[in-house]
């Protein structure tokens, strides 16, 4: 049996770890609430944006444009949103797995990394990192998403990549987060027609509307992805820290039991020795 001192030391070390995980859980709970509100406030914008883009695509069936058909290059740009810090359960490794084992596995990819953990994981797997803008993943602002989308789109217009994809974690609810891989460009047109809508007119050239609308659309998707991912990150961390705190408490219980047993047996032993000593003298 381990000595009393060893057990005591071990218990206090686990106690302080438990305190840290508990604090981290509280912090991510607060952050989760904030991130969630932000993600929810973005929803009406994203919905209207999607509807408008679909309605414009219905009208512009005949137009040939790289935004709709894709480029000639076989390379694909992938924006990968992960977190800068770990201790969030499977959050980061799930996003990385999406790239290394998902639909795009084994293809020529240019990675635009948002989040240090995802970048490190993909770098290890031998992917080419084109851009690392990890500083924006903590508190995503629309301007950051716009800058990133300008960067990716300019590489698309230069013909360096033929398609643009986005890997992020969809925030379904506090417990369920789903890593997702979606194609941003070329834009996918929804098959089903919504017939009860009025025919839409455009006062500018349809092509010039497309020219302006698609980058805005891409930016809004990236921004939405950033917000969802940040909510998922905090949700995942909250869960991970919750179970870590539970485990720490369980271990402390076991160690306390062990400690008491060790203490008791050492007292018993001391008593036996004293009695034996007294008997020897008398």
């Amino acid at each position: 049996m381990a000595s009393m001192r060893d057990i005591k030391r071990r218990r206090s070390s686990i106690e302080s770890t438990g305190q840290i995980t508990k604090a981290m859980k509280l912090v991510s709970t607060v952050k989760l609430q904030k991130a969630r509100v932000k993600a929810e406030q973005n929803a009406p914008y994203a919905d209207s944006m999607y509807r408008t883009v679909q309605s414009i695509l219905e009208r512009t069936c005949g137009i040939r444009h790289p935004y709709l058909q894709g480029g000639d290059s076989g390379r694909k740009a992938v924006i990968v949103i992960s977190s800068n810090r770990g201790l969030a359960g499977g959050y980061n490794s799930n996003v990385v797995k999406l790239i290394t084992q998902g639909e795009l596995a084994g293809q020529d990819l240019d990675i635009y990394a948002v989040g240090k953990k995802g970048r490190e994981g993909l770098q290890r797997a031998g992917y080419r990192i084109r851009l690392d803008s990890s500083d924006i993943s903590e508190e995503p602002a629309y301007a950051d998403a716009a800058a990133l989308s300008r960067e990716v789109l300019s590489s698309f217009t230069r013909g360096e990549v033929g398609e643009i994809w986005l890997a992020y974690t969809f925030f379904k609810n506090t417990i369920v987060h789903e890593p997702r891989l979606i194609r941003l460009l070329p834009v996918e047109k929804e098959e089903e027609e919504i017939s009860d809508r009025l025919p839409m007119n455009f006062d500018a050239e349809e092509e010039s509307i497309l020219e302006m609308l698609i980058p805005t659309y891409v930016t809004s998707l990236i921004y939405g992805g950033l917000l969802e991912s940040s909510a998922s990150e905090n949700g995942a961390r909250m869960q991970a820290m919750d179970s870590a705190t539970d485990n720490a408490e369980e271990m402390i219980e076991d160690l306390t039991l062990l400690y008491n047993r060790a203490r008791q047996s050492s007292i018993t032993q001391e008593l036996t020795e004293i009695i034996a000593g007294a008997q020897a003298i008398s």
């Binding site: 932000k38 406030q41 973005n42 009406p44 914008y45 209207s48 944006m49 408008t52 309605s55 414009i56 629309y142 998403a145 716009a146 009025l198 025919p199 839409m200 007119n201 455009f202 006062d203 500018a204 010039s208 509307i209 302006m212 609308l213 805005t216 809004s220 921004y223």
Partner: protein
């Protein structure tokens, strides 16, 4: 006129639903020029340029600075998707002035590496903010 001549206005930005209400008329700046919309307009989608949004309501006029985006006009309402929108009270005049001067300087110098389109949008945006405050 006895009938109600107002229609629904929704202004949405990525960060929030900026405004939701009704108005008798809406005026804003588009890529094809200034536009004033009354209820009952034919369905139309227009591209916005930075400018001042004016909403005419029974109780008076409401103004706000509106930046790039687009507007979906339907007979019974308008949905405006803007990258940013601000009420006069939210505008920092000193910052807008500084941004205006910076953009003007960039356009004046016209160096090879300046993105002229971006500088011009920045200028328009600053002007829209200043205009809204007046």
């Amino acid at each position: 006129m006895a009938e109600d001549r107002s229609f629904r206005i929704r202004i949405i930005t990525p960060e929030r639903v900026f405004y939701e209400g009704s108005a008798l008329m809406a005026e804003f700046n588009t890529s094809e020029g200034e536009l004033g919309i009354y209820p009952g307009h034919i369905p139309m989608t227009v591209i916005l340029k930075p400018g001042v949004l004016k909403l005419t309501q029974p109780e008076g006029k409401k103004e706000a600075a509106l930046h790039t985006g687009f507007a979906e006009i339907l007979p019974d309402g308008i949905t405006i998707l803007a990258e940013a929108a601000e009420w006069p009270g939210e505008i920092d005049i000193a910052r807008a002035q500084a941004a205006k001067e910076r953009a003007e300087a960039r356009i004046r110098e016209h160096r090879a590496d300046t993105d002229m389109a971006r500088a011009q949008t920045a200028l328009l945006r600053a002007l829209a903010r200043i205009e809204t405050l007046r």
